[in-house]
């Protein structure tokens, strides 16, 4: 069985991410969405909400699983039996960063191939950080994220906050 990992922080999942997931699911027998939860930087939404949003937004895709992971991606991939890392390329991707990460992973684990897929053109300018900014400033971000993700972000934003 050909298994691919699609790693990210998905903070939150965008329509661009979902497009990549759907494309990857047509290419591989199983796609595992790996939600990185390394503690260094404080996320917009806690991992629990991010995972729920992904699960709720991918129920229509049979061969997708969602899981969080700590530590190195290559260890997570090895544990899952994945031979492929999937990354999305947007028109405005940070290619340099993507290349650094992919080359580092290749050195650490030469058998793990990184594969780049292009997102749909209409999502080619979307990023989680744009979604976060619009959401935090009270704008309408419904066209940027899958419907199920929109509900979960809205639920999260309506929680009482302690700062």
């Amino acid at each position: 069985m050909r298994i691919a990992i699609y790693p990210g922080s998905f903070d939150p999942l965008t329509r661009g991410h979902l497009d990549v997931i759907e494309r990857a699911a047509r290419q591989y027998d199983k796609v595992i969405i790996g939600v990185g939860i390394n503690g260094s930087k404080k996320p917009f939404m806690p991992a629990e909400f991010r995972l729920r949003a992904i699960v709720a937004s991918t129920v229509h895709i049979a061969n997708v699983e969602t899981e969080s992971f700590e530590g190195l991606l290559i260890h997570f991939a090895r544990d899952k039996g994945a031979k492929v890392i999937v990354r999305g390329l947007r028109a405005t991707s940070d290619f340099d960063y993507e290349f650094q990460i992919a080359m580092a992973n290749r050195r650490l684990s030469p058998d793990l191939e990184t594969i780049f897929l292009m997102t749909k053109w209409e999502h080619s300018f979307l990023s989680s950080s744009v979604v976060r900014e619009v959401a935090l400033l009270g704008g309408d971000f419904s066209s940027f994220v899958p419907e199920a993700t929109h509900s979960i972000i809205s639920e999260f934003l309506s929680l009482p906050r302690i700062n």
Copy 2:
């Protein structure tokens, strides 16, 4: 009346910003410099000083106004009756980031057009972050910012600091 917004954090205003303002003022009937004061990241100078520096450095341009805004840029533009967002392109602009923001604004407000102007070549490498770094390390940043801005930054830096 054709009104354009030139948004930014202007932390601080550079000679490159001023060049864009002068160019925009020749293109539109009124240019509103919108100083974003969304609380997320701590600025180098408080909004009050940033606004004073802009006002003092643009007194020679009749059709320019300066105002701070909170919330989404598209809401500020709508409230001001502006149909155009102006952005400066430097040789070293982060095009990808500019594109993401402009495309997000277009989705949120399709009638609001983003227009890019090129800065003068001699300011093409200037950025607020370079000014901040030089200023904080005690260097001479007078050739990077308008004269009036220089005075106000110097005043700010000479204030007693509580950290």
Copy 3:
């Protein structure tokens, strides 16, 4: 009257070009589409066909004129009384080339401002060279060009050829 020039070889006009023309026509009182016909490189379609395609595809825009020009763009702009050059920015624009040209024009004619507009995201990957390649290889390029342009290219391609 505020007049802008939108220069290019339009060999052929794409839907991305048309989108820029429509945006420019909302920004300026008159937009003159300047079709450069400098002899150096042999075009795909003769200027006559390129001009006809533009005229036919812009009949719905009242304040647009189409004209060919030889020689320097800055001279054409001066003759037409234009103070602004409009250029489209695609996600995949050659920024470096755009900047070189715009900076050279600014040195030659400091009062002429170059203004960049963003094309619609769905046309952000279109270029005349892609259209030419698909057309010459017998592919269906109807979604890449305006309908009226499609007819004129088809007419041109069906002409008997002497090579």
Copy 4:
């Protein structure tokens, strides 16, 4: 059977190309190397030599076939039953060009997915044009191309030439 096309002009095949072929051959059941022979620009080596070089340099890979094609890539892919186009990403790839082509192919044939693989870092600066330039100027290009390709280029360069 999962079939992928790896298209190019391979004028000539480099070690970077071969690395991509080997990676693709591990990902798909069959990889068809499609040598484009559209007549527009005169190649360095005739298609016959380019094909021979590829065949000779890939004899060690069981699931690779080499074939020339005229016309559109999407038609070639359809005729071969391929669902995937493979492209190599070098550090110095022309991403913009790659994106334009891939997006055009997606519009023309939505079910055909383009997949990007990274070449090995030591081949990340190689290109056919560098090989051609070194070869034509009498330099030692043996470290840039597979051994079998080197022999065939040398054979080609030793042919009597009519110019």
Copy 5:
């Protein structure tokens, strides 16, 4: 005596940095590695460890010295009698940032020339941030840093931590 400064935060030194140091040492009579210790952002390793790692990893190069500095690079260079700043270019360098800094330094100190050297291709994707990430997540980063640096990072990571 021709003296060059190679500035950076070296947090930590990578094999790419060491390659640049070795190249610079062949070009200049003396190379001073300047470790910037401006307080603004908290480093991964304290300056003391970073300096020790550099000294230990460059013992084989006779004409290299290592020193920390506070304040502006141009002042450090002037104090050291250096006329040249050396910077490494990786395939994935942030050219824009490098240009901004180099141009700012040129304005502040016109006689100080910035010189760019290319790292070896196999280190062209390495960065300190990748090393830090792999090290913090417990991965094997030994192929990314010089051996002596590896020991010192390991020593640092084994210290009891107060957070």
Copy 6:
């Protein structure tokens, strides 16, 4: 004696080239301007005019020599006893191309170091191709090239032409 080669086609020499030459002349004992005259593409000006323009424009720099070369740059450098290749970086340089060439030269001749210098900001958008285009269309290119080069281009353009 430390000898550097500054290679190019200089078709024609620009003020940006001259700036790089002056900077290189301060860094090395001798700078040899190597004018490549490989026959493949037809130049704008014959080598004789290009060399005359360089010689006339660099008479004020004592340690500069100008020479044409055929064949590989690394062979020319070896013959001249040069250990360094100098290249100028403009804001709008084609980094990818520069990197490909520099990496190829490094493989072919590991001891030959390529060094990149930044041009002055006001020449950062100049290129020979812009000069050629303006000159051929009858524009005023005097601010783009050194004065002595301007005279020689004008002389060349006034020659009777056989096409």
